[in-house]
Protein backbone atom coordinates (compact mmCIF):
# COMPACT_ATOMS: atom_id res chain seq x y z
CA UNK A 1 0.00 0.00 0.00
CA UNK A 2 1.29 3.44 -0.99
CA UNK A 3 1.56 5.71 2.00
CA UNK A 4 1.66 9.11 0.35
CA UNK A 5 -1.91 9.39 -0.76
CA UNK A 6 -4.32 12.29 -0.28
CA UNK A 7 -7.18 10.94 1.83
CA UNK A 8 -10.38 12.78 2.79
CA UNK A 9 -12.24 11.41 5.81
CA UNK A 10 -15.79 12.59 6.44
CA UNK A 11 -16.85 12.33 10.08
CA UNK A 12 -14.45 12.58 13.00
CA UNK A 13 -16.20 10.30 15.46
CA UNK A 14 -14.63 7.18 16.95
CA UNK A 15 -14.14 5.48 13.58
CA UNK A 16 -13.21 8.59 11.59
CA UNK A 17 -10.67 9.86 14.11
CA UNK A 18 -9.14 6.42 14.49
CA UNK A 19 -8.70 6.08 10.74
CA UNK A 20 -7.40 9.65 10.47
CA UNK A 21 -4.77 9.14 13.18
CA UNK A 22 -3.68 5.84 11.70
CA UNK A 23 -3.50 6.98 8.07
CA UNK A 24 -1.76 10.24 8.99
CA UNK A 25 0.84 8.42 11.07
CA UNK A 26 1.46 6.09 8.11
CA UNK A 27 2.53 9.10 6.03
CA UNK A 28 -0.62 10.02 4.08
CA UNK A 29 -1.96 13.55 3.68
CA UNK A 30 -5.25 13.47 5.51
CA UNK A 31 -8.14 15.97 5.63
CA UNK A 32 -10.90 15.36 8.17
CA UNK A 33 -14.32 16.99 7.77
CA UNK A 34 -16.86 17.23 10.59
CA UNK A 35 -19.72 19.62 11.27
CA UNK A 36 -19.09 19.37 15.03
CA UNK A 37 -15.87 21.15 15.92
CA UNK A 38 -15.25 19.51 19.34
CA UNK A 39 -14.93 16.10 17.64
CA UNK A 40 -11.51 17.20 16.37
CA UNK A 41 -10.28 16.71 19.96
CA UNK A 42 -10.37 12.99 19.19
CA UNK A 43 -7.42 13.45 16.85
CA UNK A 44 -4.08 12.52 18.38
CA UNK A 45 -1.42 15.22 18.98
CA UNK A 46 0.78 13.84 16.20
CA UNK A 47 -2.04 14.07 13.62
CA UNK A 48 -0.44 16.15 10.88
CA UNK A 49 -3.40 16.57 8.55
CA UNK A 50 -6.03 19.30 8.10
CA UNK A 51 -9.33 19.80 9.90
CA UNK A 52 -12.29 21.21 7.96
CA UNK A 53 -15.26 22.34 10.00
CA UNK A 54 -18.48 22.07 7.98
CA UNK A 55 -21.32 19.98 6.59
CA UNK A 56 -20.00 17.61 3.93
CA UNK A 57 -23.34 17.51 2.13
CA UNK A 58 -22.61 21.08 0.98
CA UNK A 59 -20.53 21.41 -2.18
CA UNK A 60 -18.60 24.39 -0.82
CA UNK A 61 -17.33 22.38 2.13
CA UNK A 62 -16.16 19.51 -0.07
CA UNK A 63 -14.46 21.91 -2.46
CA UNK A 64 -12.78 23.59 0.53
CA UNK A 65 -11.37 20.20 1.49
CA UNK A 66 -9.87 19.94 -2.05
CA UNK A 67 -11.86 16.79 -2.70
CA UNK A 68 -11.12 17.06 -6.43
CA UNK A 69 -7.48 16.17 -5.67
CA UNK A 70 -8.26 13.25 -3.34
CA UNK A 71 -7.06 9.71 -4.06
CA UNK A 72 -9.36 8.19 -1.48
CA UNK A 73 -12.52 9.33 0.33
CA UNK A 74 -13.90 7.53 3.36
CA UNK A 75 -17.36 8.51 4.63
CA UNK A 76 -17.70 7.48 8.27
CA UNK A 77 -20.39 9.69 9.81
CA UNK A 78 -23.08 8.05 11.95
CA UNK A 79 -25.71 8.94 9.32
CA UNK A 80 -26.02 6.45 6.47
CA UNK A 81 -27.58 8.98 4.14
CA UNK A 82 -24.79 11.51 4.61
CA UNK A 83 -22.23 8.82 3.84
CA UNK A 84 -24.10 7.64 0.77
CA UNK A 85 -24.56 11.14 -0.60
CA UNK A 86 -20.97 12.20 0.00
CA UNK A 87 -19.66 8.96 -1.50
CA UNK A 88 -21.70 9.40 -4.67
CA UNK A 89 -20.74 13.04 -5.01
CA UNK A 90 -17.07 12.17 -4.56
CA UNK A 91 -17.21 9.36 -7.11
CA UNK A 92 -19.49 10.78 -9.78
CA UNK A 93 -18.96 14.53 -9.58
CA UNK A 94 -15.39 14.93 -8.36
CA UNK A 95 -14.08 11.68 -9.85
CA UNK A 96 -12.34 10.46 -6.69
CA UNK A 97 -10.85 7.09 -7.74
CA UNK A 98 -11.46 5.18 -4.50
CA UNK A 99 -14.51 5.84 -2.36
CA UNK A 100 -15.71 3.93 0.70
CA UNK A 101 -18.86 4.52 2.74
CA UNK A 102 -19.95 3.13 6.07
CA UNK A 103 -23.61 2.08 5.90
CA UNK A 104 -25.31 0.62 8.95
CA UNK A 105 -28.53 -0.51 7.29
CA UNK A 106 -27.93 -3.70 5.24
CA UNK A 107 -31.05 -3.02 3.12
CA UNK A 108 -29.67 0.33 2.06
CA UNK A 109 -26.26 -1.20 1.37
CA UNK A 110 -27.70 -3.56 -1.27
CA UNK A 111 -28.97 -0.71 -3.41
CA UNK A 112 -25.72 1.23 -3.33
CA UNK A 113 -23.67 -1.78 -4.32
CA UNK A 114 -25.78 -1.65 -7.53
CA UNK A 115 -24.75 1.97 -7.97
CA UNK A 116 -21.08 1.04 -7.80
CA UNK A 117 -20.37 2.56 -4.39
CA UNK A 118 -18.07 0.51 -2.14
CA UNK A 119 -19.75 0.12 1.21
CA UNK A 120 -18.83 -1.44 4.51
CA UNK A 121 -21.75 -2.46 6.69
CA UNK A 122 -20.69 -2.79 10.35
CA UNK A 123 -24.01 -4.46 11.15
CA UNK A 124 -23.43 -7.28 8.65
CA UNK A 125 -19.75 -7.61 9.55
CA UNK A 126 -20.43 -7.79 13.28
CA UNK A 127 -23.38 -10.14 12.92
CA UNK A 128 -21.30 -12.49 10.77
CA UNK A 129 -18.58 -12.56 13.41
CA UNK A 130 -21.06 -13.11 16.21
CA UNK A 131 -22.73 -15.93 14.29
CA UNK A 132 -19.37 -17.54 13.62
CA UNK A 133 -18.37 -17.22 17.28
CA UNK A 134 -21.67 -18.70 18.38
CA UNK A 135 -21.34 -21.56 15.89
CA UNK A 136 -17.75 -22.28 16.99
CA UNK A 137 -18.78 -22.14 20.64
CA UNK A 138 -21.47 -24.66 19.89
CA UNK A 139 -19.06 -27.13 18.25
CA UNK A 140 -16.54 -26.78 21.07
CA UNK A 141 -19.13 -27.62 23.68
CA UNK A 142 -20.96 -30.16 21.52
CA UNK A 143 -20.53 -32.93 24.06
CA UNK A 144 -22.05 -30.84 26.83
CA UNK A 145 -25.27 -30.16 24.97
CA UNK A 146 -28.33 -32.02 26.03
Amino acid sequence: MRNNRFIVIVGCGRLGSHLANHLSRAGNSVVVIDRDEPTFNELSPDFSGFRVHGDATQMDVLKGAKINKADVLIATTHEDNVNLMVAQVARKIFGVPHVLARVFDPKREEVYVQLGIDTICPTSVASEMFLRAVANGATEREGAQS
Partner: protein
Amino acid sequence: MKVLIVGGGKTLYFLSRNFAARGYQVVIINRNREECVQLARQLSATVVCGDGSDAGILKEAGAMGADAILAITPNDQDNLVICQLASLKFGVPRTVALANDPDNAEVFEKLGVSGFSTTRIVGSLIEQRASLEQITNLLPVGEGRVNVTEIILDDDSPVVGKLLKDINLPENALVAVVIRDNRPIVPRGTNDLLAGDRVVLITLPENHGPVLKAFTGERI
Protein backbone atom coordinates in the same frame (compact mmCIF):
# COMPACT_ATOMS: atom_id res chain seq x y z
CA MET B 1 -52.23 8.91 -9.53
CA LYS B 2 -50.55 7.82 -6.32
CA VAL B 3 -48.04 10.21 -4.78
CA LEU B 4 -45.74 9.61 -1.81
CA ILE B 5 -44.59 12.70 0.05
CA VAL B 6 -41.82 12.48 2.63
CA GLY B 7 -41.27 15.35 5.05
CA GLY B 8 -43.22 17.62 7.35
CA GLY B 9 -44.20 21.16 8.16
CA LYS B 10 -46.51 23.51 6.33
CA THR B 11 -45.10 22.80 2.87
CA LEU B 12 -46.00 19.16 3.23
CA TYR B 13 -49.42 19.94 4.67
CA PHE B 14 -50.47 22.32 1.92
CA LEU B 15 -48.98 20.19 -0.87
CA SER B 16 -50.83 17.14 0.41
CA ARG B 17 -54.05 19.09 0.69
CA ASN B 18 -53.66 20.32 -2.90
CA PHE B 19 -52.90 16.88 -4.26
CA ALA B 20 -55.75 15.29 -2.33
CA ALA B 21 -58.15 17.95 -3.66
CA ARG B 22 -57.11 17.05 -7.20
CA GLY B 23 -58.10 13.48 -6.49
CA TYR B 24 -54.60 12.06 -6.14
CA GLN B 25 -54.02 9.25 -3.70
CA VAL B 26 -51.59 10.78 -1.20
CA VAL B 27 -49.37 8.85 1.21
CA ILE B 28 -47.35 10.88 3.71
CA ILE B 29 -44.23 9.60 5.44
CA ASN B 30 -43.18 11.55 8.53
CA ARG B 31 -40.86 10.66 11.41
CA ASN B 32 -42.65 12.59 14.15
CA ARG B 33 -45.45 10.61 15.76
CA GLU B 34 -47.39 13.65 17.01
CA GLU B 35 -47.22 15.37 13.63
CA CYS B 36 -48.42 12.13 12.00
CA VAL B 37 -51.49 12.05 14.24
CA GLN B 38 -52.23 15.70 13.39
CA LEU B 39 -51.81 15.13 9.65
CA ALA B 40 -54.01 12.05 9.70
CA ARG B 41 -56.76 14.08 11.40
CA GLN B 42 -56.51 17.05 9.06
CA LEU B 43 -56.04 15.41 5.68
CA SER B 44 -57.64 12.71 3.62
CA ALA B 45 -54.31 10.99 3.17
CA THR B 46 -52.65 7.85 4.42
CA VAL B 47 -49.96 8.68 6.97
CA VAL B 48 -47.05 6.35 7.68
CA CYS B 49 -44.87 7.15 10.68
CA GLY B 50 -41.18 6.39 10.15
CA ASP B 51 -37.94 7.11 8.33
CA GLY B 52 -38.62 7.58 4.61
CA SER B 53 -35.10 6.46 3.73
CA ASP B 54 -35.79 3.05 5.26
CA ALA B 55 -36.75 0.49 2.63
CA GLY B 56 -39.20 -1.17 5.03
CA ILE B 57 -41.10 2.08 5.58
CA LEU B 58 -41.20 2.84 1.86
CA LYS B 59 -42.64 -0.61 1.28
CA GLU B 60 -45.25 -0.09 3.99
CA ALA B 61 -46.22 3.20 2.36
CA GLY B 62 -46.87 1.33 -0.89
CA ALA B 63 -43.87 2.61 -2.85
CA MET B 64 -44.23 -0.39 -5.16
CA GLY B 65 -47.30 1.01 -6.89
CA ALA B 66 -46.58 4.73 -6.56
CA ASP B 67 -46.45 7.00 -9.61
CA ALA B 68 -44.26 9.63 -7.99
CA ILE B 69 -42.34 10.38 -4.83
CA LEU B 70 -41.55 13.81 -3.48
CA ALA B 71 -38.86 14.17 -0.78
CA ILE B 72 -39.01 17.54 0.98
CA THR B 73 -37.28 16.93 4.33
CA PRO B 74 -34.86 19.60 5.61
CA ASN B 75 -31.91 17.25 4.95
CA ASP B 76 -30.57 16.97 1.42
CA GLN B 77 -28.87 13.64 2.08
CA ASP B 78 -32.19 12.13 3.19
CA ASN B 79 -34.04 13.54 0.18
CA LEU B 80 -31.46 12.04 -2.18
CA VAL B 81 -31.45 8.59 -0.58
CA ILE B 82 -35.27 8.49 -0.32
CA CYS B 83 -35.57 9.14 -4.06
CA GLN B 84 -32.80 6.72 -5.02
CA LEU B 85 -34.27 3.91 -2.93
CA ALA B 86 -37.76 4.58 -4.31
CA SER B 87 -36.51 4.49 -7.87
CA LEU B 88 -33.96 1.63 -7.65
CA LYS B 89 -35.68 -0.68 -5.19
CA PHE B 90 -39.35 -0.01 -5.89
CA GLY B 91 -39.31 1.27 -9.48
CA VAL B 92 -41.11 4.55 -8.72
CA PRO B 93 -41.05 6.25 -12.15
CA ARG B 94 -40.88 9.88 -11.04
CA THR B 95 -38.75 11.09 -8.12
CA VAL B 96 -38.36 14.70 -7.05
CA ALA B 97 -36.05 15.89 -4.28
CA LEU B 98 -35.91 19.25 -2.56
CA ALA B 99 -32.39 20.71 -2.51
CA ASN B 100 -32.15 22.82 0.66
CA ASP B 101 -28.66 23.86 -0.45
CA PRO B 102 -29.31 25.33 -3.93
CA ASP B 103 -26.02 23.84 -5.21
CA ASN B 104 -27.40 20.38 -4.54
CA ALA B 105 -30.13 20.75 -7.19
CA GLU B 106 -27.47 20.10 -9.86
CA VAL B 107 -25.86 17.39 -7.76
CA PHE B 108 -29.18 15.54 -7.58
CA GLU B 109 -29.66 15.80 -11.35
CA LYS B 110 -26.19 14.34 -11.92
CA LEU B 111 -27.04 11.46 -9.58
CA GLY B 112 -30.23 10.67 -11.48
CA VAL B 113 -32.82 12.35 -9.25
CA SER B 114 -34.69 15.42 -10.35
CA GLY B 115 -33.96 18.21 -7.90
CA PHE B 116 -35.32 21.67 -7.25
CA SER B 117 -34.39 24.49 -4.94
CA THR B 118 -37.16 26.66 -3.49
CA THR B 119 -34.55 29.24 -2.54
CA ARG B 120 -33.53 29.55 -6.16
CA ILE B 121 -37.11 29.60 -7.46
CA VAL B 122 -38.25 32.25 -4.98
CA GLY B 123 -35.07 34.25 -5.57
CA SER B 124 -35.51 34.36 -9.32
CA LEU B 125 -39.23 35.17 -8.94
CA ILE B 126 -38.40 38.15 -6.78
CA GLU B 127 -35.73 39.30 -9.21
CA GLN B 128 -38.08 39.07 -12.16
CA ARG B 129 -40.97 40.76 -10.37
CA ALA B 130 -38.72 43.53 -9.22
CA SER B 131 -37.10 44.09 -12.60
CA LEU B 132 -40.18 44.43 -14.77
CA GLU B 133 -43.76 44.26 -13.67
CA GLN B 134 -45.26 43.53 -17.05
CA ILE B 135 -43.25 40.34 -17.50
CA THR B 136 -44.15 37.17 -15.66
CA ASN B 137 -42.02 34.09 -15.96
CA LEU B 138 -44.56 31.32 -15.98
CA LEU B 139 -42.40 28.26 -15.75
CA PRO B 140 -39.07 26.82 -16.70
CA VAL B 141 -39.39 23.63 -18.78
CA GLY B 142 -36.74 20.97 -19.39
CA GLU B 143 -34.60 21.73 -16.30
CA GLY B 144 -34.71 25.44 -17.11
CA ARG B 145 -33.57 25.09 -20.74
CA VAL B 146 -36.89 26.44 -22.01
CA ASN B 147 -38.68 29.49 -20.61
CA VAL B 148 -42.36 30.21 -20.86
CA THR B 149 -42.92 33.92 -20.28
CA GLU B 150 -45.97 36.14 -20.33
CA ILE B 151 -45.72 39.79 -21.37
CA ILE B 152 -48.50 42.36 -21.18
CA LEU B 153 -48.07 44.74 -24.11
CA ASP B 154 -48.40 48.44 -23.34
CA ASP B 155 -48.76 51.41 -25.71
CA ASP B 156 -45.00 51.91 -25.87
CA SER B 157 -44.29 48.40 -27.08
CA PRO B 158 -42.64 48.43 -30.53
CA VAL B 159 -44.74 45.45 -31.69
CA VAL B 160 -48.15 46.99 -31.01
CA GLY B 161 -50.14 47.39 -34.22
CA LYS B 162 -47.88 45.05 -36.18
CA LEU B 163 -48.70 41.73 -37.78
CA LEU B 164 -46.91 38.80 -36.24
CA LYS B 165 -45.09 37.99 -39.51
CA ASP B 166 -43.63 41.54 -39.59
CA ILE B 167 -42.01 41.24 -36.18
CA ASN B 168 -38.33 40.50 -36.28
CA LEU B 169 -37.96 37.62 -33.81
CA PRO B 170 -34.62 35.97 -32.99
CA GLU B 171 -34.15 32.28 -33.86
CA ASN B 172 -35.77 29.65 -31.66
CA ALA B 173 -38.54 31.77 -30.21
CA LEU B 174 -42.27 31.36 -30.51
CA VAL B 175 -45.37 33.37 -29.74
CA ALA B 176 -47.46 30.53 -28.34
CA VAL B 177 -50.65 32.26 -27.30
CA VAL B 178 -52.11 35.75 -27.35
CA ILE B 179 -54.75 36.44 -24.73
CA ARG B 180 -57.01 39.33 -25.70
CA ASP B 181 -60.00 40.25 -23.50
CA ASN B 182 -59.57 36.97 -21.67
CA ARG B 183 -59.87 35.02 -24.92
CA PRO B 184 -56.82 32.98 -25.87
CA ILE B 185 -55.83 32.94 -29.55
CA VAL B 186 -53.16 30.67 -30.99
CA PRO B 187 -51.80 33.22 -33.48
CA ARG B 188 -50.56 32.90 -37.04
CA GLY B 189 -48.49 35.32 -39.08
CA THR B 190 -51.55 37.31 -40.10
CA ASN B 191 -52.65 38.05 -36.54
CA ASP B 192 -51.86 41.51 -35.19
CA LEU B 193 -50.84 42.56 -31.70
CA LEU B 194 -52.57 45.26 -29.68
CA ALA B 195 -51.81 47.13 -26.48
CA GLY B 196 -53.22 45.19 -23.54
CA ASP B 197 -52.63 41.82 -25.19
CA ARG B 198 -51.07 39.20 -22.95
CA VAL B 199 -48.49 37.41 -25.06
CA VAL B 200 -47.15 34.02 -23.99
CA LEU B 201 -43.66 33.46 -25.36
CA ILE B 202 -41.49 30.38 -25.54
CA THR B 203 -37.77 31.18 -25.49
CA LEU B 204 -34.41 29.59 -24.75
CA PRO B 205 -32.01 31.08 -22.19
CA GLU B 206 -29.67 32.32 -24.95
CA ASN B 207 -32.34 34.33 -26.77
CA HIS B 208 -34.55 35.17 -23.78
CA GLY B 209 -33.21 38.71 -23.33
CA PRO B 210 -33.31 39.71 -27.05
CA VAL B 211 -36.85 38.31 -27.45
CA LEU B 212 -38.11 40.28 -24.45
CA LYS B 213 -36.46 43.38 -25.87
CA ALA B 214 -38.26 42.90 -29.18
CA PHE B 215 -41.58 43.00 -27.33
CA THR B 216 -40.93 45.67 -24.73
CA GLY B 217 -38.45 47.96 -26.50
CA GLU B 218 -35.06 48.84 -25.07
CA ARG B 219 -36.25 49.18 -21.51
CA ILE B 220 -34.69 46.09 -20.01
